[in-house]
């Protein structure tokens, strides 16, 4: 089997450099320049994988990114493994290891192949129909389906490679470096336009570069020689950047495109280390030229999927470009002239072509004549009705087609062969065009969809625009380019081009067989095993829209998005339903054009760079003191400070006791701070908070509640009047940015007459909050010359002070119910002030506490946390905070909504306290609350929003929202859990120090 199937040395393959690689554990040899597919074919390996549903043996079908079958997993025994890679795109390197996917135990003997034998029982929608019932069995079915499906294996550890993103701005982006792309890019750049040319392959020149045909001549030379000269010239053009191995994945609105640039995948392992593997290019182009070419179509006939059946153009590319023959006995099957180019290519290399099966009645083009002259048998008006060979094609049988193309007649012609080149014509690659929002039109003559309406500054040129012959490509390109780029001339306006003009074609979407459709397997989607029979079944079952048929049959839903067979699916649907092509919709191609790695998408945003995070100025101290952290918005906040092996519960209980018994200290720097200035600042606060602000004295603080216009609580915090026209507002940690945005919105759009200026100063200040009965003594040690008496510095007031040389803003405000001070200093002094507080508090056992203890302490006092005890459906009335809603003010944001019939309902959920009958049971936050246990259906009254074990009260406490809760004081309710029912009693949400005596203690 180790026959080397190289025909001749190719200029694109370096035969002096041998490369060994492994496929399914066995070592093979290839040459530098080979793809995995070409190297496998050179080693006479066609069978590469198994199909998804029937597990049928499948081989290499194409030579490009549209490959549906030859999908492999790459691995090098590290985490560097990648599934679903097209063997036709993998450039081999020393040490490459690849294996087949979707087969078990191996590609030659696969247990799932039994699905093929019972395929009559696996029609379209089989999984939907069979596994949907009973619903409770889904988990078991899913296990079975996943086992037998297997679309490769994902790596189990972190990706070791480096990925990157790059933004590119250019005047002109040219996608595709075939003949049209090269000419377009060259002329754009020469006209002083900053141009980027990208191509998914490693070589420029597209198909033209190896198209050594005597029928295509430019300037009296072969088109391949001519293009090589053009490519040579590109290198000297300023303004032109060229990127190969770069595949455009997505084309969005406003000419925003995403492309993946492959940098190291083709390199040996040792040369990959430390380098960027793939880069996501984010391209903003003033103009886009799509030169994406065309994809050859297969023909849809019975058993058209065996290994050895390939696209005609692929057979040619393997021979011309890689110097590899795909079979020793070749047959071609065609409906147009392009197969004849492949036939001549093989013939001229001395490779045997057994016969051509052509569904047309005849053709007199020059190229067909040349094939006739070579003495190769052509069976006109014939179609292939069946093929044989399980793991490799062994023969085909053909019959004469009826005039209407719907049936076959006459005798079977059997031809033994090991390679069948198939062509059904060419499909313009309009994927990117449609992604950008472009509208297509169906060209009845050529049976292709073509770009019709451009949604942005873009142009499709060459065969993706329906120009297939070199002459029409160059003529149309010259005209369109001048108009699109607004240039006077191109440098190929006057060149002479000779190419074949003949373009005859006989289009039959589904070719008949001598067997009825039910007994045949004409595959339309190779990767997903959807046959013409499945599509017809879907239509019979009432599906009409192409999008529905697609989902029901899974046609076009594989990793290749059905690049080969989508047109046939549309054609079969149109024929069967008796409508015009495209009338039931065309399929939408979605990004990415070819699969992207997750690494490319995330780029550098992995690990600690996954998301932005913010640290307070005291962060290092928290780390040194072994704090555990929690994420609050983007902030990393100290959660609790365990001593030795304390768990969270123990640490929080200790911290909570200390804060009330002596002194505690909290890093409150994360609270949002907005500086408000202007002669209308007081009026502005009046309008945004529910309570009154005009009479707040200078140097005083007030708690405020902010609503949405729908009356629901939005944010809260303390605002301090620093001067006549100067306030500092605090917001919740998570709400800061949104509050600022909302206030700006009202100022700019509803109340532009107000003289108010808002500035975010959250990051400018560090805040340490000291609380507890000894807080006053500690502050006195730090600022001895400040009078801390009740008369001079009462609760809810403000002082400017100085700690050493550091200016600070002091507020006597409390979120714990204890006598407390908030010290605000310029952020860079935060850690110094914190350490000073710790030093001064040492004799009082000052205890740093984190967010968890803060939550517990405020819950003891029944203070809400917006976002925990509220969820966007709670009004201040629901929170039993009527005291903060001004009755006198004419208007404030959300006021009118408080008087809507719905917000005034008595049976709304209201905030209450809950006490468990057993003081040691701590409720689960989120637990449901009911009044009857044996009800069906059970009536849910509400849920627990905050719950803690209070060390100061030595019992469990909870806050909850309960329907009509404010009228339920003292009522017994139940909390049903999986293993028990918990008895609770509705209580006052203020559990501790109900008279607020400790504030002034």
């Amino acid at each position: 089997m180790s026959t080397n199937l190289r025909v001749k040395s190719s200029e694109f393959i370096d035969e002096t450099i041998r490369i060994s690689f492994k496929f399914n554990g066995k070592t093979y040899q290839g040459f530098k320049g080979d793809t995995l597919a070409s190297a496998l074919l050179a080693n006479n390996i066609h069978l590469v994988g198994r199909s998804f549903k029937y597990h049928r043996p499948r081989g290499i079908m194409t030579a490009g990114s549209e490959e549906p079958n030859a999908i492999v997993q790459l691995n090098d025994k590290t985490n560097r493994t990648e599934p679903n890679v097209r063997a036709t795109e993998v450039e081999i390197y020393e040490g490459l290891e690849a294996s087949s996917q979707n087969c078990w135990p191996n590609v030659n003997f696969d247990i799932g192949g039994i699905n093929n034998a019972i395929s009559a029982f696996l029609p379209a929608g089989f999984y939907y129909k069979t596994f949907m019932w009973p619903a409770s069995f889904w988990e078991k079915y899913e296990y079975f389906i996943r086992q037998s499906a297997g679309l490769g294996k994902s790596p189990s550890d972190n990706d070791p490679d480096i990925y990157d993103h790059r933004n590119i701005h250019c005047d002109v982006l040219v996608v595709g470096a075939g003949i049209s792309g090269i000419l377009a890019a060259k002329n754009a750049a020469k006209n002083n336009l900053k141009t980027l040319l990208v191509d998914e392959k490693n070589e420029l020149g597209g198909a033209t570069i190896y198209q050594n045909s005597e029928f295509n001549k430019i300037d009296n030379q072969s088109s391949s020689n001519w293009i090589k000269k053009e490519i040579q010239e590109l290198k000297n053009i300023k303004n032109l950047e060229i990127k190969t191995r770069t595949s455009v994945a997505a084309f969005h609105g406003y000419n925003y495109l995403l492309a993946r640039e492959n940098l190291t995948d083709h390199l040996e392992k040792k040369n990959k280390q430390g380098k960027i593997r793939q880069r996501l290019l984010k391209i903003r182009a003033k103009k886009v030229i799509l030169a994406t070419g065309a994809l050859e179509r297969p023909l849809i006939f019975n058993n058209n999927d065996r290994p050895g059946i390939m696209l005609s153009s692929a057979v040619k590319k393997y021979a011309d470009f890689y110097g590899v023959i795909s079979g020793k006995k070749n047959v071609f099957f065609t409906n147009n002239d392009s197969a004849y180019e492949s036939v001549l290519c093989l013939h001229n290399k001395g490779i045997k072509v057994e016969a051509i099966i052509d569904i047309r009645e005849n053709s007199d083009s020059k190229i067909v004549k040349a094939v006739k002259d070579a003495g190769i048998t052509i069976h006109w008006s014939h179609t292939i009705v069946d093929t044989k060979g399980y793991k490799k094609l062994s023969s085909i049988s053909a019959m004469k087609l009826s005039n209407d193309g719907l049936s076959v007649t006459g005798k079977n012609i059997n031809i033994s062969c090991d390679c069948l080149g198939v062509t059904g014509g060419w499909t313009p690659a309009v994927h990117l065009f449609t992604q950008s929002g472009g509208k297509l039109v169906f060209d009845e003559n050529n049976k292709v969809f073509l770009p019709n309406e451009y949604p942005s500054e873009q142009l499709s040129v060459g065969s993706c625009n329906g120009d297939f012959k070199i002459k029409e490509i160059i003529n149309n390109l010259s005209i369109n380019l001048k108009q699109f780029l607004k240039i006077k001339k191109t440098d190929f306006d006057d060149i002479t081009v000779e190419s074949e003009e003949e373009n005859s074609k006989r289009n039959i979407w589904l070719l008949p067989s001598d067997k009825p459709i039910g007994k045949t397997k004409p595959f339309v989607d190779y990767q997903n095993d959807a046959t013409a029979k499945d599509i017809k079944l879907a239509l019979r079952e009432g599906f009409r829209s192409i999008e529905h048929v697609k989902r029901y049959t899974t046609t076009g839903m594989g990793t290749d998005q059905g690049k080969l067979g989508n047109m046939h699916a549309l054609g079969i649907i149109a024929d069967t339903a008796g409508v015009k092509m495209g009338e039931l919709g065309t399929t939408t191609f979605r990004p990415p054009y070819t699969p992207l790695t997750f690494g490319t998408i995330v780029g550098r945003n992995v690990g600690e760079y996954f998301d932005i995070f913010r640290r307070t100025p005291m962060n290092d101290w928290h780390i040194e003191n072994k704090a555990k952290f929690e994420n609050v918005g983007q902030w990393k906040r100290a959660w609790y400070y365990p001593i030795n092996d304390e768990n969270m519960h123990k640490a929080v209980q200790r911290e909570s006791l200390a804060a009330r018994e002596s002194a505690g200290i909290l890093d409150a720097s994360t609270l949002g701070k907005i500086d408000i200035q202007g002669s209308d600042a007081s009026e502005f606060l009046n309008r945004v908070y529910t309570n009154a602000w005009s009479k707040l004295g200078i140097g005083k603080c007030r708690y405020g509640l902010m609503l949405n216009e729908d009356g629901m609580v939005y944010d809260d915090g303390v605002t301090t009047r620093l001067g006549e026209n100067h306030y500092i507002m605090t917001t919740t940690t998570g709400g800061a940015a949104n509050v600022l945005g909302k206030l700006e919105d009202y100022l700019q759009t509803e109340w532009p007459e107000l003289d108010v200026y808002l500035t975010s100063v959250t990051d400018h200040y560090a805040t340490a909050s000291i609380c507890g009965p000894n807080s006053k003594k500690i502050l006195n040690k730090i600022i001895p010359d400040l009078d801390l008496s009740e008369e001079n510095f009462p609760h809810m007031s403000f002082k400017n002070a100085q700690i050493g040389n550091i200016k600070c803003r002091l507020m006597r405000i409390s979120f714990t119910g204890e006598h407390s001070y908030e010290i605000n200093v310029q952020a860079n002094y935060g850690k110094a002030i914190w350490e000073k507080c710790m030093e001064a508090g040492k004799e009082f056992n000052i205890t740093p506490y984190g967010t968890e203890t803060m939550h517990l302490l405020r819950a003891e006092k029944g203070f809400i946390i917006v976002g925990q005890d509220t969820d966007g459906t709670m009004t201040p009335i629901d929170l039993q905070m009527n005291w903060i809603v001004s009755k006198k003010k004419y208007d404030f944001i959300g006021k009118r909504s408080l008087y809507r019939s719905d917000t005034m309902k008595e049976e709304r959920k209201q905030l209450v306290g809950l006490l468990t009958d057993d003081p040691n049971i701590v409720l689960e936050e989120g637990a449901q609350i009911v009044s009857e246990l044996n009800q069906s259906p059970v009536n849910m009254l509400g849920h627990v929003t905050s719950s803690y074990y209070s060390p100061n009260l030595k019992k469990s406490i909870a806050l909850a929202v309960v329907r009509s809760g404010k009228n339920m004081m003292g009522k017994k309710l139940f909390i049903p859990m999986v293993d028990k029912n918990i008895n609770v009693t509705v209580a006052n949400p203020i559990f501790f120090d109900t008279e607020n005596k400790r504030l002034n203690a």
Binding site: G253, Y254, P455, E744, P752, K895, R896, R900
Partner: protein
Amino acid sequence: MFIINCPYCGERDQQEFKAGGEAHIERPKQPTELSDDEWAGYLFMRKNIKGVQFERWNHAHGCRKWFNMVRDTSNDEIKLIYKMGEKPPSE
């Protein structure tokens, strides 16, 4: 991803902006005078049309200014941008 011409900063990427819903819905000057239905109309009812729509946008990660945009929601074409307080074009 649009390119938006902020009336204060010039052309910037859409990433810098925040959409703010339908434009020219003025907050009632005397909300207390409104019936529940009238207030609900202001609060909740939005056109959400396919086609030419008047919208509010904010240059959130830039100058923080709000402005108005006329956009065709069917193809995302931005037809016009004008400042807050300016009158919408009649057609």
